[in-house]
Structure formats: C-alpha cells, structure tokens
Symmetry: C2
Subunit: 625 residues, 2 copies
Amino acid sequence: QMPRGNLETIHHRALVLAQIRKWLDFLMFKEAFECMRKLRINLNLIYDHNPKVFLENVEIFIKQIDSVNYINLFLTELKEDDVRKTMYPTAVFDKASPNSKDVKKVDLICDALRAAMETINPHKYCLSILTSHVKKSNPQLEVALQKVHELRENPPTASDAVSAEDALKYLLFLVDVNELYDHSLGTYDFDLVIMVAEKSQKDPKEYLPFLNDLKKMETNYQRYTIDKHLKRYNKALCHLTKCGPEHFSELLKLVKDHKLYTEGLKLFQSGTQEYKDINNAYGEYLNEKHQYEQAGLIFARCGRFEKALDAFVASCCWQQALCMASLLQFTEDKLADLARSLSGKLVEHRKHAEASLLLEQYAQDYEDAILLLLEGSIWEEALRLIYKYNRPDILETNLRPSIIEAQRNHLVFLESQKTTFTRHKARLLVVRELKERARQGLLDEEVQECPETDLVSETGSSIMTASEASSKYTHSNSRISSRSSKNRRKAERKRHSLKEGSPLEDVALLEAICETIKTVDKLRGEVHCLLKVLVLFEYDEQARELQQCMDDVLQLMEKSIPEIWITDRQQSSAAPVLGPNSTANSITASFQQPKSTTHAVHGETELLMVPKLNNSLQWKLGLLE
Amino acid sequence: QMPRGNLETIHHRALVLAQIRKWLDFLMFKEAFECMRKLRINLNLIYDHNPKVFLENVEIFIKQIDSVNYINLFLTELKEDDVRKTMYPTAVFDKASPNSKDVKKVDLICDALRAAMETINPHKYCLSILTSHVKKSNPQLEVALQKVHELRENPPTASDAVSAEDALKYLLFLVDVNELYDHSLGTYDFDLVIMVAEKSQKDPKEYLPFLNDLKKMETNYQRYTIDKHLKRYNKALCHLTKCGPEHFSELLKLVKDHKLYTEGLKLFQSGTQEYKDINNAYGEYLNEKHQYEQAGLIFARCGRFEKALDAFVASCCWQQALCMASLLQFTEDKLADLARSLSGKLVEHRKHAEASLLLEQYAQDYEDAILLLLEGSIWEEALRLIYKYNRPDILETNLRPSIIEAQRNHLVFLESQKTTFTRHKARLLVVRELKERARQGLLDEEVQECPETDLVSETGSSIMTASEASSKYTHSNSRISSRSSKNRRKAERKRHSLKEGSPLEDVALLEAICETIKTVDKLRGEVHCLLKVLVLFEYDEQARELQQCMDDVLQLMEKSIPEIWITDRQQSSAAPVLGPNSTANSITASFQQPKSTTHAVHGETELLMVPKLNNSLQWKLGLLE
C-alpha cells in the first residue's frame, strides 16, 4: 500500500461546481453552503447561479442555513459582479440576471433576506438584519442605529434575543466608529449619540461639551448645527430656515459659503425680502464668475435694477439694459448716454443694426444711426431711415460712395478667394499624385531628381493661405473684414500645416479649400442685397460685374468639388478587381487603394465631408443676366 | 512572268504617310500636296503635322503650290479636328497643337494664308482670299462682298486679275444665295445688294420695291429697317436711337417686343425721359413675370413711385415700400394703413419682428406691436417695448401666460421628437438586421414565420414620422408651428417610403432620423432665449424642466449617432479578412459587406452624412444646473 498523502483532500473544481449547481437546483442550500465555505468558493454563486429561484426561496435558504454567523458571512461576501462571468464561467450560460441595470444585486438580496428574517424571527436574526442594513450600497446606518436604540429602550424578552450592548458591539465591528458616531449625531438622538460615543474610544471631554451645547439649543437650530457639523449643508439650510428671520444673516452666509443659491431660493416665497436677498447674493456670485447676463437676470428679479443694468451692459444685452434704465426712470439725457455707450459696444461686435436702433430711438441721433447701417452694409434699413427722417442728402454724400466701395471690396475679395482656391486645388492634385507614386513605390531617388519636383516646390512656395489672402483685403466699412478675421482665428485653430511637404499637407489643403468654399458660399445673401441697391441707384454695370464675378467663383468651386472630393460612387465604379490573375493580396490592395488617397485623410471626418453649396438661395438678379 | 495587275498602284498607307511627313519636314509642300491629293489623304495633315512650322512657312507653301484651285481645295477641306489624332495616329506624338483652346485652327490658317496671298499677289489669289473669308468659323461674308464690290467699282488692270462677275459667281458657289443676299443687305450698300440680287434667281418685283422704299429713308432709319428685316434687333435698336426723339415710341415698341431693356437703357443717359420710359416698360415686364421686387427697383429709379410701391408691397419688401411712401409724401393716416397691411403680410411669413416694427413706428400701435413680438417668441424685444411705452400691465396679462405656454409647447414638442426618434432608431436597427440576414441568405421561409417578424410589424405600424408627430403640436403663438410645416413640406419632397417593408425603408428611416435631429438641434437658440425670460420672471422650475428635457433629447441623439452612422474608422478596425482560409470571394465579400449596410444606402450622399450637432452654442443656463 502506498503512503497516504493529502491527495484525497484535493477536489477538482469543475466537479465541485457541478455538484454545487445540482444542490442549488434542488434548493439544497445547506449542503451547497457548507461545501462552498469549506472549499472557499465565492458565496455569490448561491444567488448568481439562478437569481430568480434564489429570490423566490429566500425563506427556505434562511431556514436551512439556520445560523446568524453563516448568514452574516453570506451577506458580507456579497458583491455586484456576477461570479458566473468573473470567476466560474460555464459553457451553458444564458440566464440573464434580472433587473441587472436598474436595481443593484446586493440591495436586492439584502432587502429580500431582511424581509424573510423579520418574518421568521427578528430577535434571533437581529445581527444579520443589522448586517443587511449596513451592506446596502447606500448603507442605512441610521436605521441600524435606531434598531440598536430600540433594543436598549425596550429590551426584548425572547430568550434568543440579542442585547443592545452586543448589537452595538457588532455594529462597531462592521462600521468605522467615527462614521457611526457621525451617523448617530445625524439622527439628532442624543441617547443614541452617547451610546455610540461610550462604546467608542472617544474621550468624553471631547464630545460631552459639544453635546451639552447642542442640547441647550432650539430644536431646529440644534439640527442645523449638527447638519453643518456633518457637512450636510442642504439639510442644514432647511433646518436653519425654520429658525425664523432672526437667523437670516447666518442663513445668507451659509448660502454664500456653500453656493446653495438654488436651494435657498426654493425655501422662500418669491417677493419676500429673504428671497430678494438671496437673489442679490446669487447675482453677485454670478458676477464674480463673469456670467454677467445671468447675473443681470437675477439682479433684475430681486429689484436691484442698477446692478442688473451694469451686468446687462457688461454682457452687451442691450434690450435688457434699456428695460432696466426704464425701471430706474432714467432721464432722456442719461438714456441717450447709455444708448450711445451700448451702441459703441455693439459696433465692436459688428452688430450694426442694433447699434443703429439705439442711436435712432434712444439718442435721436438719426444721422449717425444711418451711417452705422451703411457701415454694416444694411442697405435697405439705411434707406428706410434716410426717408423716414427726410435726409436725402445722405444718399449722395454717403450711400452711393458706400455701395460703390462695397462693390469694389467684394470684387477684390472674390478675386483673392478664387486665386487661393485655384492654387490650393492645383497643389492638392500634385500632392495626391506624389503620395500615390510614393505608395506605388515609384518615388525612388531618381524620380526625386527629375525636373518635376522643382515644379512642385515652385507651386508650393507661391501658395497663400485663404486667411493670408483675405487679411490683405480688410476694409472698415465692409462685413468682409470681421468675417475674414473670424475665419482666420477659426482656421488657425484647426489648420494643419500647409507647409510644402508636411506629412498632412493634403489634409491641410483640403481644410483650406473647404474654408474658402464656405466663405464664398456664405456671401450669397450679402451680395444679393448689394446687387439690389446697386440696381436701384442705376449702377447697372457695377452690379453686373459683381454678379458675374460671384457667379464665376461659385461655378469654379462647384465644378471642382467632384475633382477634389472623390465620392464613394466613383470609386465603386472602378474596374473590377476579380479575375483569374488576382490574388488575395491584389484584391485587398485594390480595396484599400482608394482609402490611401481619400480615406486615409479621413482623420477628421467632419473636414472631409463634401461642402454643400447653398444653391437654393436665389442670389442673382434676373435683370442683370 | 506573272500577268501585271493593279498591284503596283496600291500604296501602303503607313509608308505613304511616312514619306509625306518627311516631305513636310523638309518643307516640300508641293510634293506632299500632290501625293495627298492623289491618294485622297486629308489635307489637314499639312498643318496638323507641325502647326508651328506650317504657320512660319505659309508663303513658301503658297509659292510652291502656286495654284488658286489647289489653295481653295486646301481651304475648303480644313476642319478643327487634329487629323493626327482622328485619322492618322502615329506612335511618336508629342507636339501639342498651339493655341488649341483659344484660337480656332481654321481661323488661324485662313488668316495666315490670306495675309500671305495678299502680300504675294492679291489679284491672282483673289478667289482664294474670298474663300479664306468665307471659311472662317464666323464667315466674313460682308468683307467678301465688299471685295467683290470693289472689283466692280475699280476693276484691276493686272492681267491675272479676276473680274467682279467671276468673283461673285464663285462666292455664290460657296454660299447659299439667300444668305448672301441678307448679308449684302447688312452692308447697307445697295449697289452690292442689287449686284447679288441680279446674280440670284430672285424676282426683281420682289426685291426692287423694298429696296426703293429703303433708299428713300433717312440713313439711320434705313439701317434700322434693314437690321429689323434681318432680325438683328440689337443693331436695329442702335440705329433707331440715332433717328431722334420723334421715333422714340417706335423704339420703345422695339424694346418691348424683343425684350431689349438692358440694351435700351445703355443707349440713353440716366435721367432723360427716354431712360425713364424704358425703365417703366422694363418694370412692367418684370411685373408680368412676377418678379415684383426687381420691378419695384426699376420703377423706383425712374420715379414711378406708386407703381414701385405696389411692386414692393407685392414682394413684401417692407422697407423699400416705406421709402416709396415717403417719396409719395403719404399722410400719417395713409402711412399707418400701409404699415398695418404690410405688417399683416409679414406675420403670414412669420416675420414678427418686422411686423411689430411697422406697427410701432408707423402706426403708433404699441400694444399690438408688443403682442406680435410675443406671438413670435421675441421675448427680449417685447420686454424692451413694454418698458419703452410704459405698459407693465402687459407683463401680467400677456407676457407671463405667453412664456408659460411656450414652455409647455416646447416640452410637448421635444417629447414627441424624442418618441419619434426612439421608434425610428429601433426600427432602423431591426431593418438593418433583417437586411443583413437576407444578405447572408439566412432569411428563408422558416425564419419569416418566426415570431420575431410579428414583432417587427408591430414596431413598424406604430411608427409616426417626425412630421406627423410635429404637426400634432402646432400652436399659434410659437415658432414651432411654422418650422414644422416648413419641415413637413421639405420632408415630403425628399422622403422615401417609411412604410414597413418598403425596399428603401432604411433610407427613409435615416432621412426621418436626420430630420428629427436637425429640428431639435435648431431649437437651441430659441430655448436659450425662453430659459432666460423664464428665469427673469421667476419660473425657475419650469425653466429647469425645459432645460433638462432639451438636454435629455440632445444627449440621446448625440449618443445614438455612432450607433446609427457607422463611421469608416469603425469599419476599418474590423477583424482582418486575410488568412489561410480566405478565398478571393470571401475577401471581396468582406470588403463589400459594410457597403451593403451603410454604403449601399448612399444613394443620396447628402442624407447619409452624419448630422453635425451645433454643440458650440451655449444654450444652457448655468444657474439652472
């Protein structure tokens, strides 16, 4: 006979798991539990094996186990993961855990077990019930403490009952003592607090004076103090509110310190002084955060119109600012001053229409109002004011020169956009060709020395970016200038290097081309308005010239789009790649090829979308054709 | 010895061409010409072989050929095509024809030959010179006729000169007689006309009375009559202008009959009565064509302000209409009536801001002006007017109810859009799954009878289109109604059938989803304004509810976009398809697969672009978070 070793105590995991599953299927929890405990198999499996069956048979489970310690062991070992997935995977695995998303597994089991234990014998299972409270994903420490307190107040007579003392000890074993102390404070039950404090290692000299102070306070103020101590500021605010108006300054401080403006406002009736004061504080807070418009709204609704006015002026909300001025009963002179100052700010933001309205309606400064409209190329509105205020002299002195200048500016700008576009397009085709050759491995040293490369660099160096070109033609009386500077900033933000030979030069070119197309496309409406006023003042030739130029550029771009953006359809209509001579690699290569020219560039998909021209806008005048 | 046949007269084309090229290279035109003529080789080759060399040696060519007939033959055989490409292709073929685009080849040769012939001997080559005029792409028949006329007036004394008679005969051989007659008329030279007429088969009774009538007329009127007869209306107009003001009514008729408004306007100084009259006629013509705005501009500039006013009112150009009213010195009452009528029209087009301005500034109807702004959800402007005209009562009676109603409408609308979106998305995934299965050949009869298909039809039947849903929630005081009706029309235009099982159901669903996303995305600005005014009037809860709802819908859409639009990048990161078990077909299929789910749908590329959410717009209020 061979010497006996430890061999017989080694169990094959798969066989054991199979056996446990069988036991669980037959609701033989006791056997399963014992075995799992002995072989250190995660107890979550009891539930995870078949959640539905377990939840339906919780009472049987408890009655079979029949041990507070074992149930505590089970509860403390619970976790959210499904151990069938993480630890004990099986081949057959199709029962999805119910409510996996909405209700948490641990909470579900805790509640089910507690309900069962309270039915069977709440005294016997007292500690397990406490465990079930503590183990919840959001631990119900107050409830557990309350149960302990009850045990002390009304010690149960049942023989198997647990004493309050033992229960508290057990709780302190489960939960950190400081946490438990805080939560006991949170119940506002001083008996409970002292009970916990006594069990803790805390020094009575530390907590007794605090508790004594608290005891002397009015209930709501006491609770507010506790909440504040526990950093439960929302609750603190609620309790402080109930302490009456004499504590309002303290309340306002609490609101400000912890930014509880929204919560504070909910606690007071609109119209009360308190409500207004909180709003005022809120407004100041928003001001500090430079959210002037919202600050203005908040100041306005609590009657702080001057502060509101300042905030609205700071955020350029001219309409609201005027409302405030009315509420403040500004004199006409003061109103005119305000209007002029707002008007200046609006012009900075190139909001000429609004700026003009302010001068017209609040400063009675009609001439400047009209000049602002001309500066903003708002021709029809300018005409309206010219006739409304009977100033036909401005037609000759300002309007005619303005529209002629605008026409010239547009021509220059369009010409520059056209040049940029053409250059970028040409360079893009060259870059693509070079990349294609490089891909085919044809770009060896010999080729690099051929004259064509010189040609390439020549083209490259003469490229101007759209923004460079447009920045040359910024004029004060045209919208073009603001647009181009905006575009420039925007362009700089996302532009790749247009430098010749940079690795993503094709992407950069595509971006620049896209930008140019969008810029010109957006001009339609503006050009349309200008054409109309040119015709009205008999500048037919200039109008025709502009319409022709704009049309040329748009057509050039529209015609070029299919050359620049190779669409999927064109690619798929390419020659078939299957045939007797094709190999797996050749087929793959042929499918990957278009990607290397167009798709590889698809780093930023947004940029590579074909820009859509707004052809639905009828910008042309038929009479100029 | 074999019997001799025709064999020795057969020439090998390639050998012949090689010989001709050699001759041409050596400027041996005579030999080349003779050979080509004999062997019926297209004579264009003489030029096409080397255009530059030919053009430089035209004189040598003529001197070598030395035959009017041959030169005529050469000229008449000329055509634009490069015969090296079309008829006689060669292996070496690199000389690009110069100026191929700008100047036409035939014109170039005609002009070069004519210049040479006129230098060498204009008398001898007279007929060839005529040919060179006639052969031009735009035949110079007048010039040719003029030359013939000159021959008649001053018969040349040179022995080799051609008589006018012969020249005319030759011309009639080249050109149709009626055409030549018309062109002779066009020279306004009656001698020439009669000369041609006599040579033609025309009946003198036909043309002589007409010519006699013409002869009696004043020169310009005569030319006008001829131009009109020849349907050369532009020239006719020019000549008629020179006939003086007594013919102006006839001129105006000509302008109207042949729509020569632009040309007519160029002939008269701005400010003259004639200029005004033509403008007036032009305006009426544009009115007839329902181009009211342009008609208005034209009427305005010729001082027909009443007509202009009508046209501007018809085209809803309210600013211009008001300008006309000022010019017509409308009384205040009349102006107010006009303003009210325009305001009504603008409201129909949902232009509430403009409609309100009219009532405020031209009808002094402040209350209605404010109500219009509320109807158009233009809250801040409404507030401005309320305070400007000191009507705080409207805050309670109208503004508060309006913003609360707007909040409710937005909530209902957003909820409906969310429902639609969710349904369409779910159905799209089902349809894609079905298509995928069909593609894999798994959708046989068995599968079609499984319960899942029932589920599918259930889902399908409950689908509401975005427009159906939105049309349920059209409210009179919200911008939503106009938007949705506009969307509906737009959507109907391009929508495929959403009917369940329709072949392009997935495209239709994608369209509908896209539409919904765009609709909600566009609401940002409007919702932002509403939130601000809700906060101002202390409707914090309602504001928070709306912000939350809007945010939920936007986030749902943003989160869904990657599920709905499978991007290229995701596809390319799919599992590799090459391997020892792959076949040519399997590789191809794997590349084509993504296309069948996403790309196959790419019929209208525009629709399948991932809709871009305007996330840069800060629509949320921080204070509501």
